[in-house]
């Protein structure tokens, strides 16, 4: 039981790191980012690459930074043109599917198809209240929690956060009030994919990465986003832990590969009770 709870927390924070970025991108931009989980893989590989020269800590920081830059470039070069057209959601899926294929292909070309372990910032284990953890796991947990709290504080307390929330709620009105919504979209995409990359760099040392590794995480990120209410950051955070707990306890008590489909069942059950997810706006269009 206690072991299950602890595992749920570690898995939950990882799902939150991936799901929050997708939620932010969808909530603010109405863009369905099918390349989202590939940034998790990119984060892992970039950390692996930079760590070779600069050590794992700088590798992690640089990989997050470069993922942020890549997000900005993709938005400016690709998604921005789609915003001027009708049906952004569908078009963005086609674009980001292409980005996803390019990323997976490039990683395969450069690093090969082997499973690679990302070098962790810490190694070894430690024991806390009678349970043994790897130090990297605890490090990943603490940094992830700090990043999530940081994102929520940014949204709640800063002028940029205000602009992001206003754009998310009503972009036409936000523009009328003088907000440069184009900047808001670009920054949101950059921050969103940077969170996925951070997850790759932080959890890659524990879970390994490979070029097509994003697919599983894309599924989790979507479950988290839908369950949370299609755009609610707090809702996605709750959903991440609910999904993790459902999977962990299914594995613990049912066993086998039941955790693979338990997430789908969980999201269906929750949508049955709350059709708009945990914190979906009742009056959303």
């Amino acid at each position: 039981m206690a072991q299950g709870l602890i595992s749920s927390v570690f898995l939950g924070i990882e799902y939150a790191m991936i799901g929050l970025g997708l939620t932010l991108i969808f909530g603010v931009m109405r863009v369905v980012n099918l390349a989202h989980a590939d940034f998790y893989t990119v984060g892992g590989y970039l950390t692996l690459y930079f760590a070779y020269f600069l050590g794992p800590m700088f590798g992690l920081v640089l990989s997050i930074f470069f993922a942020f830059l890549a997000g900005i470039v993709i938005d400016r070069v690709g998604i921005q043109a789609l915003r001027k057209r009708e049906d952004l959601q569908t078009n963005s899926m086609v674009l980001t599917l292409g980005v996803s294929l390019i990323i997976a292909g490039s990683l395969f070309f450069v690093f090969g198809s082997d499973y690679r372990q990302v070098p962790g910032v810490f190694s070894g284990t430690t024991s806390v209240i009678g349970f043994t953890f790897s130090v990297q796991e605890l490090f990943a947990l603490v940094i992830s929690a700090a990043l999530i709290v940081g994102l929520m504080a940014l949204l709640k307390f800063t002028t940029l956060g205000l602009a992001i929330r206003a754009t998310s709620a009503d972009s036409t009105n936000a523009r009328a009030l003088g907000i440069n919504v184009n900047h808001v979209y670009t920054i949101s995409f950059g921050v969103g994919v940077a969170f996925a990359a951070a997850a790759g760099g932080l959890f890659g040392p524990i879970l390994y990465v490979f070029p097509q590794g994003g697919v599983t995480y894309l599924q989790k990120a979507f479950i988290v986003t839908i369950m949370g209410g299609m755009g609610s950051i707090l809702g996605a955070l709750i959903a991440a832990f609910v999904l993790a707990a459902a999977e962990t306890f299914a594995q613990l008590y049912v066993g086998g590969f039941s955790y693979e489909f338990v997430g789908i069942i969980a999201v269906l059950l929750i949508l049955l009770v709350r059709p708009r997810g945990f914190l979906g706006e009742i009056d959303a269009e």
């Binding site: 002028t159 205000l162 929330r165 206003a166 709620a169 036409t172 009328a176 009030l177 003088g178 907000i179």
Partner: protein, 180 residues
């Protein structure tokens, strides 16, 4: 199109705001999930001077004490009239000289439409100019100083509200009949 003898064609909203021209879109436009204060702060987004933003917030709270009392409430939970106050207060946050209103009464209950016009009259006393486009002719002429009747893209009649209300021309234009 010119404002103070300068062309304003093709300007971005934030450039218009910097010139002191604010625009209020049709229908309800508060951000329901944000608090009252946050809504007002969005209005000051294009202001560079943050001290001025703080002063303007105090002015808006002075004008609408109701909003000050409920500043930490979610805007979506306030009454329709209070939400209109937020919309006007949000525009006043940049202390504009000219305020453009796009059909402020459209889709509103009659009571709320009247409250909206009352708000315009109140804010006008703060030395603000309004340019209002509205189909509610009687309602808007009651508060206006000067009116233009536009039909099919052309100014048909203009004048002081009393004159416009008297003239048969209004009836002709809107009900049909003889072409001007």
């Amino acid at each position: 199109m010119t404002y103070r003898n300068k062309s304003i064609v093709g300007l971005d909203p934030h450039e218009m705001l910097n010139k002191g021209v604010a625009y209020m879109p049709q229908g309800r436009s508060v951000f329901p999930a944000m608090t009252v204060k946050e809504n007002l702060k969005v209005g000051a987004y294009s202001l560079k001077d943050k001290n001025k933003a703080r002063d303007n917030l105090e002015k808006v709270f002075g004008l609408f004490p109701q909003l000050k009392a409920k500043q930490h409430h979610r805007a979506g939970f306030l009454s329709g009239g209070e939400q209109k106050m937020i919309e006007f207060g949000r525009i006043l946050m940049i202390d504009p000289q000219l305020i453009l209103l796009d059909e402020p009464s459209v889709g509103l209950a009659p009571v709320l439409a009247r409250q909206t016009y009352e708000l315009v009259t109140r804010i006008r006393e703060e030395k603000k100019t309004f340019l209002i486009v509205d189909q509610n002719i009687r309602g808007v002429l009651e508060i206006a100083d000067y009116g233009y009747v536009i039909s099919l893209g052309q100014v048909r009649v203009e004048g002081k509200p009393e004159e416009l209300m008297e003239q048969d021309q209004l009836k002709n234009i809107f009900i049909g009949g003889n072409k001007p």
